[in-house]
C-alpha cells in the first residue's frame, strides 16, 4: 500500500506502537522557548530527572518577551538560559542573537526534509514547509522530548490540498492560507496533516510555504507539510552541502520522501486561487474570513507587521513597496517587528527599515512582541489592530482588543489609510 510523505517519515522514526494507531517516534530536533520550557524544566528538576537526551538536538531561544518586560518574564529567561548552559546546549539564542522561533530555526538550517520536530508551541507546524514532520506539543510532551527524544502521535492521516491557478496581483501566501482555513473551518483538519501541493505551492518561495504551513494549526491540523524540492535545497544548501555532491543530487535524494502514486489520503481538495481576493478576518476565529473590500473602511488603531507568519524579509519587502514615500495615518500606531536579526539587518541594508520609519512606523527588535499580547504593543480595551499574525482570538493581543488578520500588503495599505483597505489601491496609485 502506498504511503504519504508523513507516513514515510513516521515509519522511518518508529520506536513503539503502544496501542492502536498511536506511534511513539524518535525526534531529530526538540525546539524550546522561554514561555513553555521553564515549566518543563522545573518539573523535570522536581522529578529528579534534570537530563537531556542529546544537547545537540535541542535548540532554544528567548523570543516571546525579549528584552524581559518584568521580573516574571526575566525569571523565565533566566531558567532557560541556565538550563541551556548546564546541559551544554550550544544552539541557544539570547538577546542580540534571538528572533521568533519559527523564523530563526529554519534560518539556521535546523530543519531538514524528513526530520521529526516538536516544540512547546502550536505554530511548530511552520517547519513542515521543509518536508519535515513538525508538530506543536504541550509541556509534558516537551518534557519527554527533552528527556528521551521521543513523542507519541496518532499515525498521520493526510488531507491534500492541490492549489492551482494564477496568483492574482495583490494576493499573497497569507491570503491563500486564510482562504483554505475559511474553507476547512477551525477544526476541519483536527488530527490530520495538511499537505500543501500543486503548481502554486511548487512556485512558492520557502517564506511563502512557511506562511502556509504556519497557519495549518488554525484549521486544527497537527502539521502542514510541503514536498521538498529545488527551492528547499537552495534555501538549505549552506547547511546540507556536505551531505550531497550537488544540489540536483540533494533534490533527488529528497524525492525518496515523496508520496507514492497510490498513497491514501483522507481527502484531496482542489483549491483554485485564480479569483482569490485579498482576505481579512472579521471575528474571533481564524476561519471567519471576508474579502478586504467587504471590510473596507473599518477603523484601526494599530498595525502590526511581524510574527512567525509574516515577519520575514519577503513580507517586509512587500509592505515596504506600499509604504515607500507614504505616511501612515495620524490615527494609527504602526509597529514592525522583523522576525530575526538576519531579517533585521537585511531590511536595514535594503533600506526597508528606513522606509518603515519614514512612514511613521516604530521598528522593534526581533521578538514575538505584540502577537501574543504580552509586550511591545498590547491593545487597550476596544482597540482594533490590523495584524499580519495568525490568531485573532478574543483578547489575543490584549483584553478587549480586536485583531484582524491580513497579509503584510493589506496591513501596510491599511496603515496609510487608517482603516482596512486594499493594497491594490496603493500599488495602482503609484503605477
Amino acid at each position: 500500500m502506498g504511503k504519504t510523505i508523513s507516513e514515510k517519515i513516521f515509519d522511518s522514526h518508529l520506536v513503539d506502537n503502544p496501542s492502536g494507531d498511536i506511534h511513539v517516534i524518535r525526534l531529530d530536533a526538540v525546539f524550546c522557548h522561554e514561555i513553555t520550557t521553564p515549566v518543563a524544566i522545573n518539573d523535570l528538576v522536581a522529578r529528579g530527572k534534570d537530563r537531556v537526551f542529546d544537547p545537540d538536538k535541542i535548540k532554544a531561544v528567548i523570543d516571546h518577551v525579549t528584552p524581559a518586560k518584568d521580573s516574571k518574564t526575566a525569571m523565565q529567561g533566566k531558567i532557560l538560559r541556565e538550563w541551556a548552559l548546564r546541559h551544554n546546549i550550544k544552539d541557544f539564542f539570547d538577546i542580540g542573537r534571538n528572533g521568533v522561533c519559527h523564523a530563526i530555526f529554519p534560518e539556521k538550517g535546523f530543519v531538514h526534509p524528513g526530520y521529526t520536530v516538536i516544540m512547546g508551541d502550536s505554530h511548530t507546524c511552520t517547519h513542515g514547509a521543509f518536508g519535515a514532520f513538525a508538530a506543536g506539543v504541550g509541556t509534558t510532551d516537551l518534557e519527554v522530548g527533552i528527556l528521551k527524544g521521543v513523542c507519541a502521535f496518532q499515525y498521520p492521516s493526510t488531507i491534500k490540498i492541490n492549489i492551482s491557478g494564477q496568483m492574482p496581483e495583490g494576493v499573497y501566501a497569507k491570503d491563500v492560507i486564510l482562504s483554505i482555513i475559511g474553507r476547512l473551518g477551525v477544526n476541519g483538519a483536527t488530527d490530520k496533516i495538511v499537505e500543501f501541493a500543486g503548481p502554486v505551492v511548487d512556485a512558492m518561495s520557502m517564506e511563502a510555504r512557511m506562511t502556509c504551513c504556519n497557519m495549518a494549526v488554525e484549521a486544527g491540523a497537527t502539521s502542514g507539510i510541503c514536498l521538498p524540492d529545488m527551492t528547499t535545497v537552495e534555501y538549505l544548501w549552506e547547511f546540507i552541502k556536505d551531505e550531497h555532491t550537488t544540489k540536483e543530487a540533494a533534490a533527488r535524494a529528497y524525492q525518496k520522501l515523496y508520496p507514492d502514486p497510490d498513497a491514501i489520503y483522507e481527502s484531496i481538495i482542489d483549491h483554485d486561487i485564480s479569483r482569490l481576493e485579498p482576505l481579512v478576518t472579521f471575528g474571533y476565529k481564524p476561519d471567519q474570513v471576508k474579502p478586504v473590500k467587504e471590510m473596507q473602511g473599518i477603523k484601526i488603531d494599530q498595525v502590526y507587521i511581524g510574527s512567525c507568519t509574516n515577519g520575514r524579509i519577503e513580507d517586509l519587502r512587500v509592505a515596504a513597496q506600499i509604504l515607500k514615500g507614504e505616511k501612515i495615518s495620524d490615527s494609527v500606531r504602526g509597529i514592525l517587528s522583523p522576525a530575526t536579526p538576519k531579517v533585521f539587518s537585511q531590511a536595514m541594508e535594503e533600506g526597508i527599515l528606513k522606509i518603515f520609519m519614514d512612514a511613521g512606523f516604530c521598528v522593534t527588535n526581533p521578538t514575538c512582541g505584540a502577537c501574543l499580547g504580552m509586550s511591545n504593543g498590547v491593545l487597550a480595551q476596544g482597540e482594533v489592530c490590523a495584524s499580519t499574525t495568525n490568531r485573532n482570538f478574543n483578547g489575543r493581543m490584549g483584553k478587549g482588543g480586536m485583531v484582524h488578520l491580513m497579509s503584510p500588503a493589506t496591513a501596510a495599505a491599511s496603515a496609510i489609510a487608517g482603516y482596512i483597505t486594499n493594497s491594490r489601491l496603493y500599488i495602482g496609485l503609484r503605477d
Binding site: 519527554v144 478574543n394 489575543r396
Partner: protein
C-alpha cells in the same frame, strides 16, 4: 489516579480556545497554582461568570473543538488546580486532548447526539457526574433524573491515566 467525579459545569459553546481558558498574560507564571484564579477569565458566554460558576465544579461538559489554539499546557493546569480533571465534549483540539492525558487527566469525546441530550436534560440543573473507569460509563444525576452513558478511551490514554501521566510512562519505557 485523579478524581473524575463531581459537580458539572456546562459550557454551551463550540470552539472554546486556550486563550479563553487561560489568557496569555498569565503565561509568565511558572507555578501551576498561580493560574487558579484566572481559569476561563476571558470566556465569552451568556450567563457564565467565572467568579461564581467554577467554584466546586469537577467536570466540564461542552460542545465541539474544545481547547483549540495555543499548545499551552497551562490550560489543563488551570483546570487541574481548580479541581477539574475531566472534560466531556463533542470533540477536542489535538494538543489540548493530548495535554490532558499527558497530565493524567481525561478529555473524553461523546457523539453530538449524546452531548445534545445531556445539555437538554441536565444543563441549568444542579448536576453530578460519576465516572466508572471499570465499566467505562458516566453516571449523570440531577434531582430524580439519572442517565448512564458509556464512553471510550484508547488503551494508551488509559495507560497514561493509570500511570499519572506521560513523563513517568515514557521514562520507564524508552
Amino acid at each position: 489516579m485523579k478524581n473524575f467525579s463531581g459537580k458539572v459545569l456546562f459550557l454551551d459553546r463550540s470552539d472554546i480556545n486556550t486563550d479563553e481558558i487561560i489568557p496569555a498574560k498569565y503565561l509568565s507564571e511558572i507555578s501551576k497554582e498561580a493560574l487558579k484564579p484566572y481559569l476561563l477569565e476571558d470566556l465569552r458566554l451568556d450567563g457564565f461568570s467565572p467568579n461564581q460558576d467554577i467554584e466546586g465544579k469537577s467536570v466540564i461538559i461542552t460542545r465541539e473543538n474544545f481547547g483549540c489554539g495555543s499548545s499551552r499546557e497551562h490550560a489543563p493546569w488551570a483546570l487541574e488546580t481548580n479541581g477539574i480533571n475531566l472534560i466531556i465534549a463533542e470533540s477536542f483540539a489535538r494538543i489540548f486532548r493530548q495535554n490532558m492525558f499527558n497530565c493524567g487527566m481525561m478529555a473524553v469525546a461523546l457523539p453530538a447526539g449524546a452531548i445534545d441530550r445531556i445539555f437538554k436534560q441536565f444543563s441549568g440543573k444542579d448536576t453530578f457526574l460519576e465516572t466508572d473507569l471499570q465499566k467505562n460509563i458516566f453516571i449523570i444525576k440531577a434531582g430524580g433524573l439519572t442517565e448512564e452513558i458509556s464512553f471510550n478511551i484508547s488503551d494508551f490514554q488509559r495507560a497514561l491515566v493509570d500511570a499519572g501521566g506521560w513523563v513517568e510512562y515514557a521514562d520507564s519505557r524508552y
